[in-house]
């Protein structure tokens, strides 16, 4: 597994742990009320599991297994940029929801996430190609 995939997948596993922890707390709070503030975890529960876990895992696995050129994965800079932008965006959105930051933080977070998926699409697009004999 290439280094960037390791970063993507390990980050995804961390988000899965956080997302499941928050989800477990909210579900338990539904069964036996613990504290009303626990409901404020809902946006981060969704953000961590949808973007942090699912999308990040998909990016990590795609970077690893999409067709290559001999041993090369093409222009990897946009894929690294996608990793940084996605995680920056997730934490901006989550911090905004936790600390009641102004709405522009949410907009900025979403813009970073949008840039991340665009950057990954830019990287992955040429790798979605027909199989050629001799290529992996």
């Amino acid at each position: 597994m290439p280094r960037l995939s390791v970063w993507f997948v390990r980050a995804a596993l961390i988000y899965l742990t956080l997302g499941f922890t928050f989800g477990g707390l909210m579900l338990a709070n539904k069964g036996v009320p613990i504290h009303p503030l626990i409901w404020r975890l809902l946006p981060s529960h969704i953000e961590f599991l949808l973007f942090g876990w699912t999308i990040q895992l998909a990016f990590g696995v795609a970077f690893w297994i999409l067709p290559r050129w001999q041993t090369q994965r093409g222009n990897v800079r946009p894929a690294w940029a996608a990793f940084l932008l996605l995680n920056g965006g997730i934490w901006l959105v989550v911090a905004g929801s936790w600390f009641n930051w102004p709405a522009w933080t949410l907009v900025s977070g979403r813009l970073l996430e949008t840039a991340a998926v665009a950057a990954f699409a830019w990287h992955a697009w040429p790798r979605v190609k027909p199989w050629v004999e001799g290529s992996p």
Partner: protein, 139 residues
């Protein structure tokens, strides 16, 4: 395909069908006088889909396809993988029953069953991460 992966993928397919079935009940609710218990089906629908189908499919395929951990234990600890399966499914099925039931029944036990469901699913997540983390490595 290893037997544990088959277990995860077949279970995930059952959840996919179940999620769509619950989705049909949800669209019928405004049209027909369905039992009051169906009012609690929205979170059930979403989690049957995301935990039962998406998560479980990912777990099954990751167990199968991720880099081998070692020659003697290529897929890590099978006991952890099996624990993930049973904890996740017991927790999710408990939620499917207890969460809507709590909305229509005064029995306080439903609340504690929901707490048990949350704990089981959380432990399943931890077991999956613990077994998968060492397999995520550079070649």
């Amino acid at each position: 395909m290893p037997p544990i992966t088959r277990l995860f993928i077949k279970a995930s397919l059952l959840y996919l069908v179940a999620a769509f079935f619950v989705g049909v009940i949800l669209v019928l609710r405004p049209m027909y006088d369905l039992p009051a218990i169906t009012a609690g089906f929205s979170p059930i629908y979403f989690h049957l889909f995301m935990v039962g189908w998406v998560m479980q499919l990912i777990v099954g395929v990751a167990y199968w396809m991720f880099p081998k951990w070692s020659k003697t234990q290529p897929r890590g600890h099978d006991s952890l993988a099996l624990a993930t399966f049973w904890l996740l499914n017991a927790g999710l099925l408990l939620r499917v029953v207890a969460e809507p039931a709590q909305m229509v029944s005064a029995w306080t036990g439903w609340g504690w069953l929901i707490v048990a469901s949350a704990t089981l699913q959380w432990l399943a997540g931890l077991a999956f991460v613990a077994n998968t983390w060492p397999r995520v490595k550079e070649k």
